[in-house]
């Protein structure tokens, strides 16, 4: 029969984990290991590396660690057995500003080459050449010439000097890995006048680009929230800008907006809307005066923002539409019964309901827009007042070949981003499930 014990004072929760859960835990770690390995390697590692590079005066060319370059050649064009020839090693320090210490060259003497004379720092031991060159200065170059005569073996071989690669050893200070740090990069970017304008442009771009995409998305979602024939087609069409490769749409916009041969400008001028073609992507600002106050309208930036809004509205549209379709229609029926007019329904019911997804979208899009590089790079290359931080990373790092400065800007990007992400995590409404 059964007994039921009201087990009174149990000893509190058991410590540790049971065997079943332990098995599960190891399985989980095993399954996650490859993923996290690759993410650490390709994402987390580089993030840290950025900080490292940003405090080092690294130019693009410094990526090549200073080494001594060797070039081995046979000179003198020996044609017959016994002809004299010269085995020449050309050496140079690849770096213009780092010396290389303990340089030693070693190589196999090609078969059939009888050495007559060995230059001073070198010695030959059983067909093996060793030259101890010591410390060489930045930009150093030298030639080592081994005189000798050739035998038939040498002549028969195809490019006999190639049979062994000369080996070179040496130590040098590698700017990438040494422990010299400098804040020069940061000083440089913060003191450049344009940095602050870049920052300002970045925020304009981010805020208005995000806002534009959201507003368009909201409107589009309203349009497609009703059932009508052709709705599926239209929904597909509305997603085109987002789905297409950025490269294609960006160039299309460039072509479309071209001031000389672009369709849009032609249309505007021919129909008499504007007198001169407008260079949408090239002109920094349009000046106009409003109530006598001269003002500037940042044209290129606005166009780039318009592109951003155009390209990403489909995404907010999708999310908002999905959210709208999940809103209980009962609520609207209740509102109908309550006598609310359509606009009242939108204002009092739809909008508050969408606030959650809108704010999540705003934050996420804000971050993504902030991160955006390709669009502006392809549209304007960051010119005409459209350079954002991300484009600046490229400009500094690659266009100007100053990796250190580029990394410093990247650090700034990252820091700003972390701030946003923190805000995002704090303020995102949990129920939206993002």
């Amino acid at each position: 029969m059964t007994t039921d014990t009201h087990d009174s004072a149990s000893a509190g929760p058991p410590k540790g984990i049971g065997p079943m859960q332990r098995r599960e835990m190891w399985l989980a770690y095993l399954m996650l290991a490859p993923t996290f390995a690759i993410i650490l390697m390709i994402v987390a590692g580089p993030l840290l590396a950025n900080f490292w590079i940003s405090v080092k005066p690294v130019q693009l060319a410094d990526l090549r660690p200073p080494t001594v370059l060797v070039n081995e050649r046979v000179r003198g064009g020996p044609e017959a057995v016994g002809d004299s020839a010269t085995l020449e090693y050309r050496l140079r320090n690849s770096s213009q500003d780092e010396e290389i210490r303990n340089v030693v060259l070693s190589d196999e003497i090609p078969a059939g080459f009888d050495i007559a004379e060995v230059p001073e720092p070198c010695s030959v031991d059983g067909g093996k050449l060793t030259c101890t060159l010591g410390t060489v200065a930045p930009g150093w170059r030298d030639r080592l010439q081994l005189e000798g005569t050739v035998t038939q073996v040498f002549l028969d071989a195809d490019r006999p000097e190639r049979q062994s690669e000369p080996q070179i050893a040496g130590e040098a200070n590698n700017i990438l890995t040494n422990f010299d740090f400098t804040l020069e990069n940061f000083r440089r970017i913060f003191s450049a006048d344009e940095f602050w304008s870049v920052l300002r442009v970045t925020f304009y771009y981010t805020i208005f680009g995000t806002g534009g995409a959201l507003v368009l998305g909201l409107f589009a979602a309203q349009l497609l929230n009703t059932v009508f024939p052709g709705r599926g087609v239209l929904r597909g069409l509305f997603l085109f800008p987002y789905v297409s490769p950025v490269i294609a749409v960006a160039f299309t916009w460039v072509v479309l907006f071209d001031p000389f041969s672009g369709t849009l400008n032609a249309l505007l001028t021919k129909m008499g809307v504007v007198a001169d073609p407008i260079n949408f992507f090239g002109q920094r600002a349009i000046e106009f005066s409003f109530l006598g106050i001269p003002m500037e309208f940042p044209l290129a930036l606005t166009t780039v923002i318009a592109f951003e809004a155009w390209r990403y509205f489909p995404l907010s549209f999708l999310f908002i539409l999905a959210r709208m379709q999940s809103i209980n229609t009962d609520m609207y029926e209740a509102a109908e019964m309550d006598g609310a007019t359509p606009l009242q329904q939108f204002w009092y019911l739809s909008l508050p309901q969408l606030m959650g997804i809108l704010s999540v979208l705003f934050l996420l899009r804000f971050i993504w827009t902030f991160n955006k590089f390709d669009d502006i790079f392809l549209l304007t290359g960051g010119n005409a007042g459209t350079r954002t931080l991300t484009v600046d990373v490229y400009e500094q790092g690659f266009a100007l070949s100053n990796l250190g400065a580029g990394a410093a800007v990247a650090v700034v990007v990252f820091v700003v981003l972390v701030t946003f992400a923190t805000l995002f995590i704090r303020f995102s409404p949990k129920e939206e499930g993002l």
Partner: protein, 424 residues
């Protein structure tokens, strides 16, 4: 293994010619050459990157601006280049071009061809309006004054897109014309304020007579071809398409894209004078074969030698209108190449020798420019520094800002001097 050859002549037709030459080289030596097109605007970055990664190509076809900086950075194997030059006979080369690439004990790379920059103008309109040929600031401004009538006709199409080499070239030409140079024999020398301001003001004036926006060679040519620009600055490469020989860049002034009409209405000027430099100056660009330090030196040298010798005519025939021979001839026949070049037909979709298209005077203007042309730092022996300054695009940027009205001329000069001084 295969040689890798980077070339900035990346249009398919031109690539095809280079591949032909590579094939010929292979027939001769058995060495395979892979011809890799690289955009001219990317060349600097990509080369540096490849250097950093230790996978430089064997040979690079590059412009003058890179020759000395790369030699200094250890990208180019100057000894190999010098040896090639010697093997071919240094005396067979035009001395000016060799001098521009000269390093301590030889050359940075082997000069191949060159061209001079020209002011291309509508001779018919100038004649109609009684204007003098646009060979000075003054003459140009006068013509702009007269002819500028947007949107039907723009007085000029200046270069304003700062990340294009084109703007550097045009600016340098304009500065040179007024005797402005950022270098002297000791390195950096502050820009002369008065002369620079003159040049800046001139440039601003022509920029204002241009359509708005980021302009570079593309717009210049399109507008001129459409008959909407009175003057542009361009390289001689324009000569064939101007005559309707290339379908992908047709003159649109008439309905017939193959018409030579525009060519017949066009005049050119290569030497430009500024108010403070009555002698004026021409601007030339020279292209070189550079052998890199990562190269298979022997093979690369053979390839360059071949291209400059047996293959030289096909090298030039890529675009004879913009590739004037730097190597005049061989030791046997001192003018072999010059003569051959003169007979090369230009054009892509249709072909014709230059002499059929332009009058003799025009052609001689173009060709003779190469002898007098110069660049910043050539005379002073500071070409390398000057190239770096150009490559940094500092001048472009501040001139553009000056044009956009962010700074006045004097402040711009000061700013330029400040920034240029930082470059070593």
């Amino acid at each position: 293994d295969t040689l890798r050859f980077w070339t900035t002549e990346e249009q398919p037709e031109r690539l095809a010619k280079q591949e032909e030459m590579a094939a010929a080289f292979k027939d001769k030596t058995g060495i395979e050459v892979e011809v890799i097109p690289v955009s001219e605007s990317d060349l600097g970055t990509r080369t540096t990157a490849a250097f950093a990664a230790g996978d430089l190509p064997d040979v690079i076809y590059h412009t003058l601006q890179y020759a000395l900086p790369w030699a200094e950075a250890g990208i180019l194997d100057t000894e190999a280049a010098t040896e090639v030059l010697e093997n071919l006979g240094a005396s067979t080369f035009a001395p000016g071009a060799v001098a521009m690439a000269a390093v301590e004990d030889g050359v940075a790379s082997v000069p191949v061809d060159g061209w001079t920059q020209m002011v291309v103008y509508r001779k018919d309109l100038f004649e109609e309006n009684g204007l003098a040929a646009p060979d000075s600031y003054e003459a140009i401004l006068a013509a702009v004054e007269k002819l500028h009538n947007p949107p039907e006709m723009f007085g000029f199409v200046a270069a304003t897109k700062i990340d294009e080499n084109f703007m550097s070239q045009v600016l340098e030409h304009v500065f040179l014309a007024n005797g402005v140079s950022p270098v002297n024999g000791d390195g950096f020398s502050a820009l002369d304020e008065k002369k620079t301001i003159e040049a800046l003001e001139f440039y601003k004036a022509i920029a204002e007579a241009s359509p708005p926006g980021d302009l570079f060679w593309k717009q210049s040519r399109e507008l001129y071809f459409a008959g909407k620009a009175a003057m542009i600055i361009w390289s001689p490469f324009i000569l064939d398409e101007l005559a309707g020989l290339r379908d992908s860049a047709p003159p649109t002034i008439t309905d017939d894209p193959t018409s030579t009409e525009l060519a017949s209405k066009t005049g050119v000027v290569t030497t430009l004078k500024g108010p403070s430099n009555p002698d004026g100056a021409a601007w030339a660009d020279i292209r070189y074969f550079g052998i890199t330090n990562d190269a298979d030196t022997e093979a690369a040298m053979q390839f360059v030698e071949f291209s400059m010798d047996d293959g030289y005519m096909s090298t030039l025939s890529i675009a004879p209108e913009g590739k004037f021979p730097i190597r005049r001839g061989t030791s046997d026949n001192a003018t072999e190449f010059v003569d051959g070049w003169a007979k090369l037909p230009v054009g892509v979709d249709r072909k014709a020798p230059l002499t059929d298209l332009y009058d003799a005077e025009t052609i001689s203007t173009i060709v003779s420019g190469l002898d007098t042309a110069s660049r910043w730092g050539v005379k002073e022996g500071q070409l390398s520094l000057a190239s770096k300054m150009i490559n940094s695009q500092v001048i472009n940027r501040y001139v553009r800002e000056y044009i956009d009205g962010e700074r006045d001329a004097a402040a711009t000069v000061a700013k330029l001097n400040e920034e240029l001084a930082k470059i070593q």
